[in-house]
Symmetry: C2
Subunit: 368 residues, 2 copies
């Protein structure tokens, strides 16, 4: 990617923040939303960064299925728990509030958990777990999502890609951060295979007859029509442990909905029975654990760091000269990008220009 | 299996309890140990039931690497957390204590977590999560284990099979109970393939060069020599999400050790540097969440049950007439076995007779 396709961090931050404000998000909350998107680009998680800005946030605000002002009701609160209702506001805003509450409660009581209802897309799950690790705490979070994953022995797209994300503070320069969806992959990866003209590896996607689909173009059409579903981690059937991946995706589906009496499975679409657009009503959970309530933070960080270092130092497979631990690749991307800015693809460039023009901002992007 | 190979539940309970007592376990604790083993057989988890009784418990007590009397020190306690030291005693006894404490704390404070150090094999993880679900609580537990799993891009057996087990109370006759090791499979499954004369499916086991091993007999030898390792859920490499399974196995490795400043990875063997046998020093964790601290237990059970029922009712893959949810198959095994007793294989029959004769018990098993 040529230099002009990189947008400086501060320009992107200013642009996203100003845009969110223009569309009705209060200033302090717009800053949070912008930072969540930019953090995704800092980590190289292209799928959840500024390329999501227009289609997943701005377009939904414009469509009226997401509210720019996030009215948060506290439905229940105990010393260690809370249930928040986001009233279809910004998922990042309610999640910031939820994790802030969880961190305060965990610092006081050792652990805490906050559930959120009637929310919208909350960005990368790792952003919220990182709030905890920055505070010297263990952060665990998950969210449901529109249905796309089939259960073992099933073919229907029933569950979301439901990330189960875990962050640990360590004695290294970056935390342990397992930030991943529970199925093998998600639609974005199939789109990538299609662009490359490559088949999709067998086992990732299941067709209506229960067998693996591998034609990437065909899969994209079938996914849109609900005639294909993503396979759980471990693949189709039971042979390679697919029921385990299915189990963990179910765990996230339950934790995201059942603690807040919320929507789940096929309810999580943005169309009602008459075909009219409606809010998603997503649910999230945030679980925080304070190592100080056990053998202490320094002890935790040292043991955690030792485990990660020993894993990396272990014997490599032929053709591989490095073993990574979760969060390490994202940290390496940041080191590589911090002076260069955010690489923006051509299709996203068009989206950013469209929003910039819509809000009448005077500045130009490097790629123009 | 013919009728005479089934041992009645009450006879097995009496035999295991009396045996544990004979080997020095106090009566009330012997009852706990027996029940944990029998519960595994109730659920059809053959790998962790009475076939583990002699090699994993009795033989280790006799070898002096596991203490029949479990001296438990409370190293740290807060309203919501605790760290227990089992002093190489019975893993089931300290786990029963840990989960009992966690349940009490969660009932009072909404959630709780207890970490255990210097422990031994704690039986099926699902036993502990079920203590929580029976009390109307969410139970999450994990444990480390002797090293057998390779990290992504690695070939060394670094991590344990580290179960990450989650139980939810539901409005059905049985709880949601995802009780599984985090890698694709474990040694017992390879032994099964070898007995059947079948190859091991590619992707389950990784050889020293990083490629898949499929010769089951060869794998068993190589595993014993440390020249093969189990692959994480998602398989070898990154293509089908192996780094996710590797990540979850790492999460359990960290949570099992770092909260209690305990042993991890290659430390978790029963031999010291000089080849002398030594205790394993395993670590476990128990996390409990009370739905009453959120939107209430009835609401939780209903939503959880609805999710499970909708998953089961969804469209089946060709060749499958049923979709299961986690814990359902184990419940079906119980319904099938409750009037028949425990099926005991010939090799386990010999072990049980050997222990029965050693303790001088007067009764005979049906299979004799």
């Amino acid at each position: 990617m040529t230099e002009k396709n990189y947008v400086p961090w501060d320009l992107m931050d200013r642009f996203l923040t100003e845009s969110f404000i223009w569309y009705g998000v209060p200033e302090a909350e717009a800053k949070i939303c912008a930072d969540v998107l930019i953090e995704s680009d800092r980590r190289g998680i292209e799928s959840h960064g500024c390329n999501r800005f227009k289609p997943i946030y701005i377009d939904r605000i414009v469509a009226g299925i997401q509210q720019p002002v996030t009215k948060i009701d506290i439905l229940k609160e105990t010393p260690t728990t809370a249930v928040l209702d986001a009233n279809d506001g910004m998922g990042m805003v309610v999640s910031h509030k939820a994790m802030t509450m969880a961190i305060e409660k965990a610092k006081t009581y050792g652990l805490s958990m906050v559930a959120v209802r009637n929310s919208t897309h909350y960005g990368i799950a790792g952003y919220w777990a990182t709030m905890a690790t920055k505070a010297g705490l263990i952060g665990i979070t998950g969210t449901n999502a529109r249905p796309s994953v089939a259960p073992t022995f099933g073919v229907d797209n029933m569950m979301g890609t439901n990330p189960l994300t875990v962050g640990f503070p360590t004695d290294e320069d970056f935390p342990f951060m397992l930030d991943c969806a529970t199925p093998i992959t998600q639609r974005g990866k199939i789109e990538y295979f299609a662009r490359m003209g490559k088949p999709t590896p067998a086992g990732m996607v299941i067709g209506q007859d229960g067998s693996a689909m591998t034609d990437s173009e065909e899969i994209l059409v079938a996914l849109t029509q609900g005639k294909a579903a993503l396979a759980p981690l471990g693949g189709i059937g039971e042979e390679l442990g697919g029921y385990k991946g299915y189990g963990y995706t179910t765990v996230v589906e339950v934790l995201s909905a059942a603690l807040q009496a919320g929507s789940f499975l096929k309810m999580l679409t943005d169309f009602d029975e008459t075909g009219k657009r409606k809010p998603y009503h997503l649910g999230h959970f945030f679980l925080v654990i304070d190592p100080e309530a056990f053998m202490g933070l320094d002890s935790f960080k040292k043991t955690c760091g030792d485990i990660l270092r020993e894993l990396r130092a272990s014997k490599k497979a032929a053709g591989h000269d490095r073993i990574y631990t979760a969060g390490e690749k994202e940290y390496l991307v940041w080191l590589e990008r911090k002076d260069k800015g955010i690489p923006v693809s051509e299709s996203v460039q068009k989206e950013l220009i469209a929003v910039r023009d819509a809000i009448g901002a005077g500045y130009r992007f490097p790629f123009e």
